[in-house]
Symmetry: C2
Subunit: 402 residues, 2 copies
């Protein structure tokens, strides 16, 4: 009989957010009157900014006329968008990235999940714990629960940043600002990893989906701000959280042309060419309308509008931080990130705290253990709800006698 | 040093359509006055139908208001679309497929390319020759130029349909109506393959991207019209060609719940669950606006509009067929398919014919050899241009003295 990829059998059956949804549904069924506030999943709540809406209507109208209709676009993304990204996200911030180093995608989940396609199966893969589950799952899908997957513990004593690995990994996933812990790496810390990768000829897969939330000028917004990073890192960016595109679907991957690998035969191959081949074989580009929407984010109005959205969410993060500070709970993040990572009070485990927060305060969050075993005893709150609901949630927490 | 997936080095460097574009550019530079007619790439030319445009504007407006804004949708697609697909594409045609057997994607290139993720690496994979390059390339990416890839020759004597393999394959790719040959399988022929797969416990990956072009009632539009197919086949469908969505990006995959595989340990696993896990880990759903656009295709107006679009293109196919018949050239397809597969006159090879057709008649088509070695000596023309240009191309061919 034909054979399936049995590595899938080693994955956890149920995805974290489905498990949360089921518990919430069960609670709601028993308590239909409860006014539940959701600070769980990292989904945005503000509508799309006006300049994005305008650009989308215009693009839809173009698709209605023979003269302006667009069929297949470039698999890598339209030039109009790749040029804006290169100019505004990189060159204007002093980093020289060219449009042909940028690949427009349909979301960072796809991009970070599919990147394994171009990697060999004999690499040692380092992944932080706790972690955004896609890095781990996409590698288990290829390798099974293999000794090739190395978990880098991120604990409280190190401010939830990973320590340097004792054994050399080939590939290192880093995500800063971090999901789920909300922690960031400053220039010195990130430079250590770039230097390590250069010295050890490792590849860094850098997820910068939350860079728009960085307030502190000392925190790099792109790994390419660190010298040498173009020779060792691929960066992933998303329009989901800064511009509210979780339902619009647009992202990009940066594969610098300076990033080469050596083949078994001793030749050199550019990761840019490999990713280009992957995308042109298994992807047909993001929708034209979506790419016009993303382009609008880079207009002066768009930049102002998304800046205001980010500021809105960061006000929520501030409210949560103030509340937790008054409560004298230990927490991380929320300063340069929409995520607050709190230590469950009284030594509770993550799911016990989840259940009590839901049952006693009608608030849904995300149990830290869902992101990895080192997340046990911690809990993630997000800043993506409205001011009113966030304020109400903070009030409920403050008045909570545990 | 970290290692790349070296199977990529075994892929052909340049993709067929880039090679064509380069030759066309070179010719245009030398002959800027030439009025080139493109019957090459299978891209649509008619704008989106009015009901689709209307639905997209409405969806964009919803994204502008807090109350109707949509963030993350279900990874598998919205219920409103999956229900319409199940009802109109299947149940109303007598096939019982349920919404949870349908996975909305962003294009058949992604779906047919990514499906290999859930398959084991020890399968023997049968692929027709000539073939849509994605099936072959996505397997070379996993397996290299391995003996595990079995090519099924499709030649003129068998009407460009594959003969039954002499050795048992585990996985069989079939695409009908076929790209590139435009040939179709009738019920009896398709039943032979379903019976073969059931008997041999093989999996059929059935690409039905062109089903809307079927005119003959004897030709099945879905493999599930054949008894037992739900136990052995995954089907891929696209909105690209019937509804003009090549730049909108929407597709779906049907993974019936009756389709199970046996694991090495003797357990049973549903391919529906595996594909669900793949998509929820590495894909975040098609954009909300795009899914509303696809939904509109199923409205009474939408159905009529896409029917007219398909009829428009099929009128082109008819013109080409009439012209080639008068010319007394041998050809296949064009009756239930937008592709016409012609035998290069005078025993010319595919690229010689390409060059002469471009240079002497200013028409761009696709060399058959680009789809596999058995395509050598053949040539693909598409019905996706306008009536005027297609008529002009036919006139040029008819007046051609070779």
């Amino acid at each position: 009989m034909f054979r399936i990829n049995e590595n899938y059998l080693q994955l956890n059956e149920s995805y974290l957010f489905s498990a949360i949804a089921r518990r919430e549904e069960k609670f709601s069924a028993l308590h239909p009157e409860a006014n539940i506030i959701r600070l769980g999943i990292g989904d945005v709540t503000l509508p799309l900014p006006p300049s994005v809406i305008k650009a989308m209507h215009k693009a839809v109208d173009e698709m209605a006329e023979k003269e302006t209709f667009r069929g297949y676009g470039p698999d890598q993304g339209y030039g109009f968008l790749r040029e804006k990204i290169a100019e505004i996200d990189f060159r204007q911030r002093g980093t020289d990235i060219s449009p042909d180093e940028i690949f427009v995608g349909d979301g960072s989940k796809s991009d970070t999940g599919n990147i394994t396609d171009i990697l060999g199966e004999d690499n040692i893969i380092a992944i932080t714990d706790p972690v955004y589950p896609v890095y781990l799952d996409s590698n288990v899908m290829r390798l099974g629960n293999s000794s090739k997957i190395m978990l880098l513990s991120c604990g409280e004593k190190n401010g939830f940043l990973p320590e340097m690995p004792s054994q050399r990994p080939d590939v290192i996933y880093l995500c800063y600002p971090n999901n789920p812990t909300g922690t960031v790496m400053n220039r010195t810390q990130l430079k250590q990893w770039v230097d390590y990768a250069l010295e050890n000829k490792s590849l860094i897969l850098f997820d910068a989906a939350y860079e728009a939330f960085i307030r502190d000028r000392e925190i790099p917004r792109s790994i390419y701000e660190i010298e040498g990073a173009k020779k060792c890192a691929i960066e992933f960016r998303s329009f989901s959280k800064n511009a509210g595109f979780t339902g619009v679907r647009c992202s990009y991957t940066v594969a610098p042309k300076a990033l080469a690998a050596r083949t078994a035969a001793g030749g050199e191959v550019l990761l840019n060419s490999l990713w280009n081949r992957r995308q042109s074989t298994k992807f047909n580009g993001a929708p034209y309308i979506v790419q016009r929407a993303a382009e609008a984010v880079y207009s002066p109005e768009g930049q102002q509008e998304v800046g205001e959205m980010v500021a809105y969410y960061m006000r929520n993060a501030e409210m949560i931080r103030e509340g937790l500070t008054q409560k004298q709970w230990t927490f991380f993040g929320g300063e340069n990130s929409p995520y607050i990572w709190l230590k469950c009070p009284g030594g509770m485990d993550s799911w016990t705290f989840f259940d009590r927060l839901l049952e006693e305060r009608h608030i849904v969050g995300t149990p830290g253990v869902g992101f990895g075993s080192k997340g046990e005893g911690y809990f993630r709150l997000t800043a993506f709800n409205s001011h009113d609901k966030t304020a109400e949630a903070v009030k409920r927490i403050k008045g909570w006698e545990l």
